[in-house]
Assembly symmetry: C2
Homo-oligomer: 339 residues x 2
Amino acid sequence: MTRRSTSVTIRDVARNAGVSVATVSRYINRNAPVSDAVAARLDAVMGDLKYAPHAAARSLAMRRTQTIGLLLLNMHRDFFAPLISGVEAIVSQKGYNLLVATSRPSMRKNVQPPIGAHNTDGLLVFADSLDDEQIYRLYQKKFPVVLIHRTAPKNAPVPSVTVENKAATRKSIDHLIEVHGRRRILFMRGPAHQEDSYWREVGYLASLEDHGIPFEDTLMLSGEFESEIAYANLKKFIETGATPFDAVFTGDDDAAIGVLEALKDTGKRVPEDVAVIGFDDLRLTSFLNPPLTTVRAPTDEVGRTAAAQLFRIIDKQVPESTILLPTEIILRRSCGCQS
Amino acid sequence: MTRRSTSVTIRDVARNAGVSVATVSRYINRNAPVSDAVAARLDAVMGDLKYAPHAAARSLAMRRTQTIGLLLLNMHRDFFAPLISGVEAIVSQKGYNLLVATSRPSMRKNVQPPIGAHNTDGLLVFADSLDDEQIYRLYQKKFPVVLIHRTAPKNAPVPSVTVENKAATRKSIDHLIEVHGRRRILFMRGPAHQEDSYWREVGYLASLEDHGIPFEDTLMLSGEFESEIAYANLKKFIETGATPFDAVFTGDDDAAIGVLEALKDTGKRVPEDVAVIGFDDLRLTSFLNPPLTTVRAPTDEVGRTAAAQLFRIIDKQVPESTILLPTEIILRRSCGCQS
DNA sequence: CCGTTTACTGTAACCGGTTACATTATGTCA
DNA sequence: TGACATAATGTAACCGGTTACAGTAAACGG
């Protein structure tokens, strides 16, 4: 009679209902028929015992955690709210739980990531929250992984979901050149080695080339997808007697915010003196002053799509190898439209 | 030799290192001395077997999941990014995992919440993502719970962490009246039964009373802490030949955005015709047009504090019963300051 | 030199579920 | 009516860890 744990187990339910644990388990999981009489008794017993199955025990027995993991770089940016939201929607709809963790590159020294094969059934990996090596290891184990905003390493062809970066950026630069007659367009690049950042840069260069505008490396500044950094770098650029410029493509909306501030603080009018275009279409950018022309990235949908792909793998279906969600330029005042 | 699972277990490690499973377990958990020779051998073996302990098995044996749960209402609002971020920081620092789930009141019909005693060691409950009844049940079981932006039911005195709502709102209204001479102040209330919403309303009424301004119920509109709803309701209010008003306290920044738009679309100038004050200080509000006067709520810190309190309970220390984090008015242009 | 710690290790019984296999009762069909 | 499928249930062996208990060898104290 010495009960070690205070929690009520499946054996308690079985005893009180006068059946075996196997029957209880079957009824709970609805995977084998149970007589109506027994079913009713079980409902009653489970009701007053307030029985809740122990997740760890179930995971252990079934070799399935019923949990998927989302690995992020950090969660400070507003960008992650819609991403998590999209992922969570699909995950909960599938009856799974969502484990969220961050993995900054700095802490990745030989330490195994906080989530992985040992505690989830699949992993959503944002950008470089894991390095190629770690992704390869998961791939080797055939562990379900979907990459977000990052393409797969050559030796580990796992599915990925990202957004169209290059074409949208190119069209944005085209727009600045063709519609607004800008030719000295500053590009604020994102973090090095970040793929979004890379492809946006490629799009920028492609557009310049299309229009026969020579690339000037003084017109490329680091914005790091962060408003403070973008602000500081642009301000310094302007104050230290800068190369003239008549437009800025900021690489992302966060940086765009810093850019708008820096321009305001240095007395430049947007869009008259300098046209500005961002990327992401964060929820509040239409209310900025002036409203920000930007590229809409369907971040919520990225989250949903990635989660859906992951479940395809888990359910032994064939996932798409790469999904590139379309982006769309949202013309507002900061580029000179709607003035 | 018929291995059922392909995964490498502690027994594999034990066999390859020529020791017992108990020794391996002790070495992994560093909870009993192990000879240097054995330690070295284990490091080597675990290295090439790429052994990773199975979380579920460990949880089952230790009766501890090493996971805490965060229960939210929904994650669409930018408000949740800093909250999750703050929680995650503390949780990961403690070596725990974070399970995130949403529980909309509509889905709460007799269904047990997705996270709870069965799969976490403690729960952070945001606002009314659980009802009094459910909180009481957890309290009865002595299950660690900390409430966020919500106070405890009388029969379940669990700790809570929230922000100062009433005083800050009162000071905001005082400011509108005393500094800017406004007397017809519209109040956009939040969701019914939401505590933040309730206390902000109380603060509003208190300030009116202090200044001998009679409350008019036509000056109270529903904003629901959502920009679209606030926009629609205010616009309708104005267009249907409204009671005149010279200021709006919007209850939250999301609603404030809708309010600013509605005012712009109906040709009212902010702050000349109508002063506006929000609540939360979302990251982008200083860049709105005009920059939004608002009350800064330290949401990231709320997350960190709540997580820290939860760990106090888990670690058998005594938590604070209620923590009310201070808020602060941030004066910008929308109320008439800094013009 | 002997009794007593102390350091290290092993055996096996848990933790709370699932499920392969066996068993019984009932219904179906030739 | 006998052979056989089917429904409903039970027994017990897992899943992969932890840890109580026990044992051995070396160190220590008097």
